[in-house]
Amino acid sequence: MTIQFNDETFRDKYTFRNSEWAIKRFPFPFHEDSYMYAVNMEQHRGGPEGSVYEKRFDVDEHYVSEMKDRAIVLDQDPLRCQSLPHMTLAGWDILELIMVCKSEDYPDLFELHRNGNQWRWINRPMGIDHSFTFMDETTLPYGPMEYITRQAQGDYAVLDQRDDMLWMDAGMVTTQADWSLDFDIGMNFFEWHAPVPLAHEMGIFQRALKFLLNIQQGAPARRLNWTMTVNPLLDTSPENYHKWGIQKTTLTPENIGQKQHLRVELQTFFRLPRSNAMLFPIRCYLCSFEDLMTVPKWGRRLHRVIRDLPDELATYKGFIDNRPMMLDYLTQFDDGLPTSPGIWPDLETEPPLSK
């Protein structure tokens, strides 16, 4: 299918909207009626047609506008994209991986022509047609990681692997759930996760690291993570928290359906061939409560998950103060009926709301 790209903003007037197509393919992160941390890794080998799992790097209707938003963030704060000196080779690995995947998975949108090291890259949605020399930085307007991640949705953490550990030594981070690349760059896997409550004690990070260290080339993995964001704001950075934090207090019972968004991260993990580094894309999807409630199963389930979430997690995810108002809203969409297992909307088989 051909994607119709939205012209929308993720700031100021917040004209961001999800089409019906985008709502139905939204990666709802709860496979049952409750939530607790889990390693929850699976192979990233495609998925149902049209789902966000289908392609290696999902492109959707928000692509062009998200890339405009990224450019604004980088103009205001170039420290959102950084690479320690030993990570340049990994940058070329990333450029190659994304260009190859996108041109194979979306041949109508992207083309890659390779003749030895002479490459031509065509990105139709963004109007780019660029010839350059692979592995020669002087032929690109930015470093290789920055060049290609200015053209790919989602944040990118690049993890070097040494001493049986992963080190966050490069990244492009403009759509983050409140963490700072500039502060965390150079940290190891346990250090950058240090502020996460409960999960260390549960052994989550030890097991996740063991899994990630063994990821092989050509066998990427994926998992979902989630949080809450008031307004469809992509750049929920600590750098700008002193400006956006106050937006959390603008929720009212009247506007919560439109303003409160479930924020889901599709996290994927790719081993890179030359550097042996790991590419860790963190793709952010936003969906308003109102739009989520159009899927009866998700309405029932979201109410139960938010109601039963431990306080530590609601605090860490930053919505403990707004939880009562969320529950007042969500309870209208929970009629107590059972829900089908798994994350999919199951619109054909799940009963409509009977309330």
Partner: protein, 198 residues
């Protein structure tokens, strides 16, 4: 009070040790303020014969006692930044097997550790011991400015003036803890300042 038991914290928070004599041909000891006591505690004539001491007094007066150790070299610098060029020179001349001993406040140990690792000294050859003030070196996550010697939480950023909450999240690269606006969700509602470990 010169030895302080830091409360248990998150994994990114550094853990400081206790200096002990290691064998080696060359030793560099950087002692800031009360950190001089840690140097004095382990000094032996054999060790001192191969040791370069860099002492940054900051209102302490251990210079005479340190000088009396007759170390191979002794330097007293008025501040960390005044001593930094010398520290870099000594580290760049370092021979294989140099042992580094850092003692004093977290801010100076963290910065000196960065200098040592930047020239390739393995972390296994660097020892630390916290002594003296428990003040923190803080980075404002918003304006990126560093405020030295922060003793209270929340504190006022010396650069942008925001009231910042003192986090335990620590960056070794910056040798600093992270400060985040404390009243971001309720402007003007700033909790009363208290000592960081109060």
């Amino acid at each position: 009070m010169s030895k302080f038991e830091f409360p248990k914290s998150i994994i990114s928070r550094p853990v400081w040790g206790t200096l002990e004599v290691r064998s080696g041909e060359h030793h560099l000891m950087i002692a800031e303020a009360e950190g001089a006591k840690a140097t004095l505690d382990i000094a032996t004539p054999e060790l001192m014969a191969h040791t370069h001491i860099i002492y940054i007094p900051r209102n302490t007066d251990f210079a005479d006692r340190l000088r009396a150790l007759n170390s191979a070299q002794f330097y007293e610098g008025p501040s960390y930044s005044a001593s930094l060029q010398r520290i870099r020179r000594v580290l760049s001349d370092a021979h294989m097997g140099l042992q580094v001993y850092l003692s004093g406040t977290e801010g100076v140990m963290g910065q000196a550790m960065n200098e040592a690792t930047a020239v390739g000294i393995p972390h296994t050859a660097i020892q630390t011991e916290h002594r003296g003030s428990v003040a923190r070196r803080m980075q404002c996550v918003h304006c990126k400015g560093i405020t030295e010697d922060v003793e209270v939480d929340p504190y006022v950023c010396a650069h942008c003036g925001l009231n910042l909450f003192v986090r335990d999240h620590y960056s070794r690269r910056l040798a600093a803890y992270q400060g985040v606006r404390v009243d971001a969700e309720d402007h003007g509602n700033v909790p009363e300042q208290k000592a960081i470990y109060e």
